[in-house]
Amino acid sequence: MRRVILCAGTGCMANGAMKVFERFRKEIDRVGLNVVLELRPEAGDRDIRLSKSGCQGFCQMGPLVTVVPDGILYTKVRPEDVTEIVEHTLVSGDLVDRLLYKDPATRRHCRGLEDNPFYARQDRRVLRDCGFLDPEDIHEFILHGGYSAAKKAYLEMSPEEICKQISESGLRGRGGGGFPTERKWEAARMQKPGKKYVICNADEGDPGAFMNRSVMEGNPHSVIEGLMIAARAIGADHTLVYVRAEYPLAVERMKRAVADAEREGILGSNVFGTGLSLKCDVMEGAGAFVCGEETAMIASIEGRRGMPTPKPPFPAQSGLWGKPTIINNVETLAHVSRIINEGAAAFRSIGTPESPGTKTFALTGHVANTGLVEVPFGTKLRDIVLEISGGVTDDAGKPMKNGFKAVQIGGPSGGCLTEDHLDLPLSYDSLRSVGAMVGSGGLVVLNQRTCMVSIARFFMEFTQRESCGKCVLCREGTKQLLALLDDVIEGRADAGTLDLLEKLGRAVQVGSLCGLGKTAPNPVLSTLRYFRHEYEEHIFEKRCRTGRCKALLKPEINEERCKGCGLCIKSCPTGAITGEKKKPHHIDPELCIKCGACATACKLQAVEGV
């Protein structure tokens, strides 16, 4: 039986995937094949199983349609293309060339995942099933081995054995800091028996990252299975998924998955016949970045303002409602079932000794192929940023030769790295040594037209807004850092500004309680370290090499080029341009608001410096 899988992640849905789905249903029926929407043990020759999947990662090219077992991947499929796919591929077994992905480097059509440069260099483990399973069908998950690890953990393993296996695997938290998962589990397991909690941290607030969203949308049961194993390991009977409310589809799919697991008796009062009970709640966040911090998340679940508290006591000792609690990221939990099923050695066989396994990254910014990638730790940044990405692009999305300037990794807590770092093997420790961090895994590629001071300001504005206000240095320090960056961008800074930025940045790192404040100055400090010359240009030459900083622009009319046509005079909203007809015009800097309208209007490119 053939199967047609439509990517139904947020990206493809926004591009009209559901309309494509409906059209498939009609067209398959029209040509006399049977549309099968549910999983069936027996299938006829003329049956076509039509199903949705979670995010397949290649968001730029959506909506995506996969045909299996043929292994064909069609990209950018519109409803009007469906007839052709049904008639040519499903009926006659041919390819529709124009819908295949065309490799921009070789201009060759790629048939499926194997020969597609975006997928071929990846090692998809956590994401593997996201592009295949129907996230709304628990039976399909079970049929592909789902919940077998949870069953093993409950029936064949003791909590000690589970913790030992996780310890041997070397699994580290995928949410940011890379803390060894087993240490949390072991600490909570050692607490005296009683009420304990496991929380899944799905509050993916890092702007520019969407790995957790994709896992929850694409394979929600894998998260529940991870939670179950964690609960068994520490002896908890209550789990909770704290999802960001900006992800409505992830919330819906998680809720549905929990309800399905309860209906099947996987969650509930008698898990796998052991007599142990386990419940799972799904709670929506309310829009506070700081709630990604463990203690702040606990406060939020308890119905209070999401403000962190000092550690110790660690949540594993005294967490939610004062009970032992472990908090793990979505991706960390999604790794757990495979470690239990395949063993620690198998998990360790990829990645680096101190950072084993794979990591998903959200690859965005000025690149040809934005989307979700999963690679083993130890992969060079270059492979992701320049190879899998399909190359750097300009602002209009066209390929840009030698366009790479920097890659921002780890979001507001991370840093900006340069060309020199591209051969660095990715791991928690290698990135920390150069002033960045894996963070949750956002990789934003920046082209030559990006002003690094403005990027630092962008992140500082974010952390300043999201600071909960508890620690003085975070609350006031981020505000002052932002003001200093504004001075640089608006031409008020002087020689002392950079020193002050550095000193204050370090003070905020030291004087803040939680991860938000401790890492908030990273984008500023890392750009100061690697792009100091750009700061200096802004301060001493009052110039922004990219022309993005409006206050530093000095529009002038090149007298040799100007033919005195008057187009610029008409376009100027403030009447700053004067001049006689057929004689070079002049801009009055006092009146000019640097809007750039004159440069757009001029047909001879005579306006310079905008």
């Binding site: 309310a286 934005t370 979700l372 962008f458």
Partner: protein, 184 residues
């Protein structure tokens, strides 16, 4: 003040809030989901409702207001009929989301401070990240996500919705928002 008439009126007015509170067993720990449900009902959190929730949960009003003002999702002012959210996450930001925001502000006469239009038709907000980074820059109107936006496209979209709304055709406007109708 506390006449029977007023009491009946209050109970009637807050009947929906009461049913939400019941759903959460009047547990103070459920404050955030309760406020989310209330906001879903009213589109925002009116002051008197917050006070009512505080009294019902036996919490100081300051605690409830503290939570309502802490989280970005809670709105203390009424929003417009259509809520426009411009994503200003990193990916959207580097792909020039701010010019889209200024174009929308200019078109609707809104600003950072004045988020809702005078005719209460639109509210313009920015959001840190919607997780649709592959489609940057992204704009969301009500629940519909639009990827690969430009200032020009955004303005055309708004003009179409505005035109249908001023013609009194809410259904046609909704169809445009949902991407079901053709946008010129």
């Amino acid at each position: 003040m506390a006449t029977a008439h007023v009491a009946v009126d209050r109970a009637g007015k807050f009947r929906k809030v009461c049913s939400i509170l019941e759903r959460y067993d009047y547990r103070p720990s459920g404050l955030i989901p309760i406020l989310q449900a209330v906001q879903h009902e009213y589109q925002y959190l009116p002051e008197e409702v917050l006070t009512f929730v505080a009294t019902s949960l036996d919490l100081p009003p300051a605690r409830v207001f503290g939570v309502a003002t802490f989280y970005a999702h809670f709105a203390l002012e009424q929003k417009g009929k259509h809520v426009i959210r411009i994503c200003d996450g990193t990916a959207c930001h580097v792909k020039q989301s701010l010019p889209i925001l200024s174009a929308i502000h200019q078109k609707l006469g809104t600003s950072e401070k004045q988020k809702t239009t005078v005719d209460a038709l639109f509210t313009v907000e920015t959001v840190a990240c919607l997780g649709a980074c592959g489609l940057a820059p992204v704009l969301v109107i009500d629940e519909q996500v639009y990827g690969g936006m430009s200032p020009e496209r955004a303005v055309i979209l708004l003009e179409d919705i505005k035109m249908q709304e001023s013609a009194g055709d809410s259904q046609a406007a909704a169809a445009i928002v949902n991407g079901e109708a053709h946008v010129n």
